[in-house]
């Protein structure tokens, strides 16, 4: 489905939308003057026309390729981001890692996401994150777990913006690895 441009994004756009509504209203008034049902038909056509117009309008930012996340870690540190799907039993991180964040996406079906019934999926993800952080814990390495968005790629991107890892380890399919590579500048490998 094409994205619909928000007609109230700014004052200028709201004013432009108002002008379009005024034109549509004049058409409806003219049609209703001849016949009420003609006015109703004109109103339906006007609404359809306005929706069509908003769908033709480019949505700001929608066509732009996503900007790659490029972190900068201080020297002497090596941050590792682990993206693991729920149910992942174990992963290994390099010895030189000084800080590790494990993010587990709360994978929800479209129905669950649409209705907001994601508590169980988030609980599953939380259990996996907890198990992996315990497994990866060792002296001198800061490890923490997080529950991410409902999409592994988005979860990785979100965490990168806050954490800024030097490399990403992905415990998921090759397609996920490739998609994450397209969003970040750091090395991404599958584990």
């Amino acid at each position: 489905m094409r994205p619909l441009r928000n007609p109230l994004r700014s004052e200028a756009e709201s004013f432009r939308f108002l002008l379009a509504v005024i034109v549509a209203a004049l058409v409806i008034v003219g049609a209703a003057y001849l016949n009420t049902w003609l006015g109703v038909a004109a109103a339906l056509l006007a609404v359809a026309g306005l929706v069509w117009w908003l769908m033709q309008e480019p949505v700001p930012g929608a066509a732009e390729p996503p900007r790659k996340v490029d972190p900068s870690t201080p020297a002497g540190q090596h941050k590792v981001l682990v993206v693991a799907l729920p149910g992942t039993a174990s992963v290994t991180v390099p010895e030189r890692a000084t800080e590790v964040v494990v993010v587990v996406p709360a994978l929800a079906s479209k129905l669950e996401a649409a209705t907001g019934a994601v508590d169980d999926r988030r609980a599953d993800a939380e259990q996996t994150a907890l198990a992996l952080t315990r497994r990866l814990s060792r002296p001198g390495v800061g490890v923490r777990g997080e529950v991410g968005a409902d999409d592994p790629v988005l979860a990785a991107e979100d965490t990168m913006r806050l954490f800024g890892a030097d490399e990403i380890l992905v415990a998921a399919g090759d397609d996920v690895v490739e998609q994450i590579r397209g969003r970040v500048t750091v090395p991404v490998s599958r584990v």
Partner: protein
Amino acid sequence: MAAHAEHLEHEHPPEPYYSSRIAPSVLGMFLFIASEIMLFGAFFTAYFFVRVVNGTPWPTPPFHLPIFVAFVNTCILVTSSFTMHWALQSVKRNNPFGLRAGLLLTFLMGLTFLITQGREYSRVGFAPKDGAFATIFYCLTGLHGAHVFVGLSILLFMTIRAFRGHFDAEHHHGVEIGGIYWHFVDVMWIVVYLTVYIL
């Protein structure tokens, strides 16, 4: 790390869900528009059932709708959107006079609209208790009137701030947001006017 692991084990309500899929400000505007559509939609649904499903005569005899007064009021409100737009264009060009005059005119026209609507209520010849038609008429126009009142309150603060020199070409977010709301109120009135008075 260990502390964090312990933290995960504690019973707690789910963490607030947030992702970069949609910006909070955009989401907020969408939710606002959605809530307004649902609010007005509920009243328009009642209108639809009363007029189309039940076939209630519109307006129910012997009552008459003051179409001409409402048309004049519509012109006033539409004009106020133009002065609102002028105010914002003025502040963007660092023209404080245009900003102040635009906001003041917008406020006065909005106030005129509300007062005229009040006069219309007192002279229209029916009350909300006089049948389904009257109830829907007062509900729809009254709901919009409440929005105009809110818009006027926002405009009042914007105007005071404009006269105190709070806005300039770089900092006028308060005028921008108020302008969006005022145009939205104007669009809603056109819809109400068409459905209640014209169709």
